[in-house]
Amino acid sequence: MVFETVIIQEGPQLIPIWFYLASSIAYGTAALISYLICYFAFRLYQKSKSKLNLIPLFGFLSLAVGFTTLLFASLYTYNYPDLFKPLGNINQVNGQAFPIYYAASLIGYFILLMIYLPKNLKDKFYVVYFPLWYMDLFSYHLVSLAIVGYILLKNVRAGKRTFERGLVIAAFAGIFLFHLLQLTLPFSPTLYLIAHGILAGGFLSFLWMLIRVSRR
């Protein structure tokens, strides 16, 4: 995989060890807010009995599982940096965590995509899950960019213009930029670090929307 190759060649200089703490905060923020959205959707499902709520529930649950996996892997690497120096910070924990994250987040994006797909496509869509289960980093980010880009576009074009919708657009724009900037890892580690800040910012935008919606 591109990610592993680069890190093994360059070692700790490419991604400083303190970054694992910073990324843990970003992943933790994303995971926590995803769980909150999940809980909110579950409460809505309980109250309204509408199955439509199951889409954000399972979509964000899947994203939350992915980010939680990365959170623990990142914290583990930060706490035991000496164990992995000969391999340039790559370790078995990260090696296991990233494929889980790829799969969980892609499933999450696909589920969220269901909200925006035409009805006749929704039933047939599950077929595409399988080829995407195992992917390399580059393909993963490209597919994520395509899905999140489509969701972002549909969000910008559809529905009433409200402040909450602006926050959701900002959140998806943040996730889109996160995937886009991750592709710059071989060229610019700084942008890679900034990408995680943008990810956390995007999820904080979701949190702001959630607070406003739940207060009404």
């Binding site: 109250k47 309204s48 909200i115």
Partner: protein
């Protein structure tokens, strides 16, 4: 726009009409408020009564529908759900 309303949207309109009438409304008021035919209204009202969201009462020979506590929670849930999905650019 001439889009078909979803079931959840119709239920919301029925409950909103009852709430607007101080939690107690005549069937004819609900019919106009929710903009439904008599047959469809009856079907939805029976459904809401069966779920325990509204109750049918009779006073001086006149029928009324009142919202129950469960119905109020359901109404609040639907309103929040509407706001939530609107934030995602989806009309329900």
């Amino acid at each position: 726009m001439n889009e078909r309303r979803s079931k959840i949207s119709i239920l919301k309109d029925i409950l909103r009409t009852i709430e607007r009438e101080n939690g107690r409304a005549k069937p004819t008021h609900i019919l106009y408020g929710a903009n439904l035919s008599h047959d469809r209204l009856k079907k939805y009202l029976d459904n809401l009564v069966a779920e325990g969201f509204i109750q049918k009462i009779e006073e001086k020979g006149q029928q009324y529908y009142i919202t129950t506590l469960k119905g109020k929670e359901f109404f609040s849930g639907i309103n929040k759900m509407k706001k939530f999905f609107e934030a995602f650019g989806v009309e329900i």
